[in-house]
């Protein structure tokens, strides 16, 4: 074997360092008693204490979870039917359908946000939690549909034909064969929808009204107002949750893999 260049490897590890340095500094600074973070002022937990006593944060967290749960449930159902239709049928209707499902993935968030704001204002709909939920369902549908579709592409259609030949009707084939086989894709899509919904700032910011502040909107206003140590503490907690969730997801999916292959 030809000796490989060391350059790509060095670049990769340097990039990973670049990825993590700001995040590590942020975590360290959340325990820093000095307000600005340029120097070490001693260890403290006071930012966490202040964080837990801030009522708006809990309110924003509650809004975020309400939106994420409803948007995930609705978009998982609509996205899954969309993927099954796109996989099963061909023709002009499905071409238009694919265009509608695919385009939101490549349209910048700010355009989705402003267009939905204009739509709601033109219809004189009051902005609030409902408009945020409607907007989240809209952008999550496409991600769920793509996740399920990629699972369907590996699916052996002849199994369905075999079941039909053996007398199963379409209801049975759908619920006993199709759904169980694509279930990992549905779960992946739902997880994606949930994460995207929790993390979304730009679209929510445009369509949110008074009282429907979500956690990212609250974090944004904290960044703007400049209470830096509090954001450090909040970010550290969110980072820890994300890290644990990904780790759990990786372990579960690795655990399932040998059975699938």
């Amino acid at each position: 074997m030809i000796k490989q260049s060391k350059l790509p490897g060095m670049l990769t590890w340097a990039t990973l360092l670049f990825f993590y340095l700001p995040i590590i500094l942020l975590v360290i600074n959340s325990f820093n008693a000095s307000r600005t973070g340029g120097s070490w002022g001693g260890f403290t937990l006071k930012w966490y204490e202040q964080l837990f006593s801030a009522r708006e944060i809990w309110h924003a967290l509650r809004n975020t979870l309400v939106v994420a749960v409803i948007a995930t449930a609705a978009s998982t159902i609509i996205g899954t039917t969309a993927a099954i239709a796109l996989h099963r049928y061909r023709g002009r209707i499905q071409n238009a359908h694919y265009f509608l499902v695919y385009t939101p993935l490549v349209v910048p968030e700010i355009l989705l946000g402003i267009s939905m704001l204009l739509f709601f204002v033109a219809l004189k709909v009051n902005l609030g939690l409902t408009t945020v939920i409607l907007a989240h369902i809209t952008f999550c549908i496409s991600y769920v549909a793509m996740a399920v579709l990629s699972r369907l592409q590996d699916f052996d259609v002849t199994i369905i034909e075999a079941a039909r030949d053996l007398g199963a009707n379409s209801w049975t084939t759908t619920w006993s064969i199709l759904i169980p086989v694509i279930f990992p894709g549905i779960m992946a899509g739902a997880l994606l929808a949930f994460t995207l919904s929790i993390d979304d700032f730009v679209i929510s910011f445009f369509v949110a009204g008074p009282g429907s502040t979500t956690l990212p909107i609250h974090i944004y206003s904290m960044i703007k107002r400049g209470s830096m140590p509090l954001i450090n503490a909040l970010s550290t907690i969110l980072l820890a949750i994300t890290f644990l969730a990904i780790l759990a997801y990786q372990i579960i999916s690795r655990h399932n893999r040998p059975q699938e292959d």
Partner: protein, 292 residues
């Protein structure tokens, strides 16, 4: 019911929910942008009755050409740097031993799932006038104490590359994983140098992944709003910032929608180019998150 009619009914019932939802909440709002650009503004922040050309004339604002140019320029530079870094990384990951590959992928995926705002904020803290980077630079006599690292276009560029890199690495890795690396050895056996083999064999081999990665980076960059808003200053405004300013500060929705129409035009040119390029390939570009 005849089988043909039953099939049509099945197709309709599976297609209708997503089709209708996206027609109402995606296509219609997108088309409304154009209509509202022709409406007069309501002083209370709404949309008044009647029609006017006034808003479109306001696009002649002498600041706009500069902002549009800056948006395109910053996005193009971000895409170039991101791809230049992501291509060797994807090459490396695809050739790694499995345990190392899993580790690097895992470490790439974490920032990908981490809150976008938190990652931007982390940089704001690093670049802050009282932050650590400036202290180090001043200590090493690389910067004078009154240098400003934050609120300039270079800071926007740095943070854009930072947030977009995982989006480029994952589709490129997905393509590199399918690449047959014995082709590189074959090219080198036939006398190609290492660089020649890389550029003439590996790059064409991952062309579709390259297109996806390019799209995944370029389009969100053109629509950037939060990054220039948080780490950029007045001199690094992009179209997205002006849209947000018209919406939230001036409460002039028709002006915001006229600018959104401009942004759509700027974005649609690379989009059509890429979608046409992809049509010859197997299927549409895969969203990068799917790789996870």
């Amino acid at each position: 019911m005849t089988p043909k009619r039953r099939r049509l009914w099945g197709e309709c019932s599976l297609t209708a929910p997503s089709m209708l939802w996206l027609l109402v909440f995606f296509l219609l709002p997108t088309l409304i942008i154009l209509a509202i650009a022709l409406k007069p503004a309501d002083p209370s922040g709404g949309i008044a009755d009647g029609w006017t050309w006034h808003t479109l004339f306001s696009l002649r604002n002498p600041n706009y050409p500069e902002i549009i140019f800056r948006t395109v320029w910053l996005s193009a530079v971000t895409t170039t740097i991101t791809l230049a870094v992501a291509i060797p990384i994807s090459y490396y990951i695809a050739r790694c031993k499995p345990w190392k590959r899993d580790l690097v992928l895992f470490l790439t995926i974490i920032p990908f799932w981490t809150s976008f705002l938190i990652r931007i904020f982390a940089w704001k803290a690093v670049l802050h006038p009282d932050g650590i980077l400036k202290s180090i630079l001043v200590f090493c006599h690389l910067a004078s104490p009154d240098t400003l690292l934050l609120y300039r276009p270079e800071a926007v560029l740095l943070v854009m590359v930072y947030t977009e890199l995982p989006f480029a690495i994952l589709p490129l890795y997905a393509a590199a994983e399918k690449f047959d690396f014995s082709l590189i050895e074959a090219a080198m056996d036939l006398g190609a140098g290492r660089l020649r083999a890389f550029f003439s064999v590996f790059i064409p081999g991952v062309y579709n992944g390259l297109l996806s990665a390019c799209l995944m980076v370029l389009i969100p960059s053109i629509g950037s709003y939060v990054i220039p808003d948080v780490v950029g200053g007045i001199g690094s405004q992009m179209i997205g910032n002006v849209i947000a300013q018209r919406t939230f500060v001036d409460r002039n929705l028709p002006a915001a929608s006229a600018l959104a129409a401009v942004l759509t035009l700027v974005m649609i040119i690379p989009l059509i180019y890429f979608l046409r390029g992809k049509k010859t390939a197997d299927s549409g570009p895969t969203p990068a998150k799917e790789v996870v």
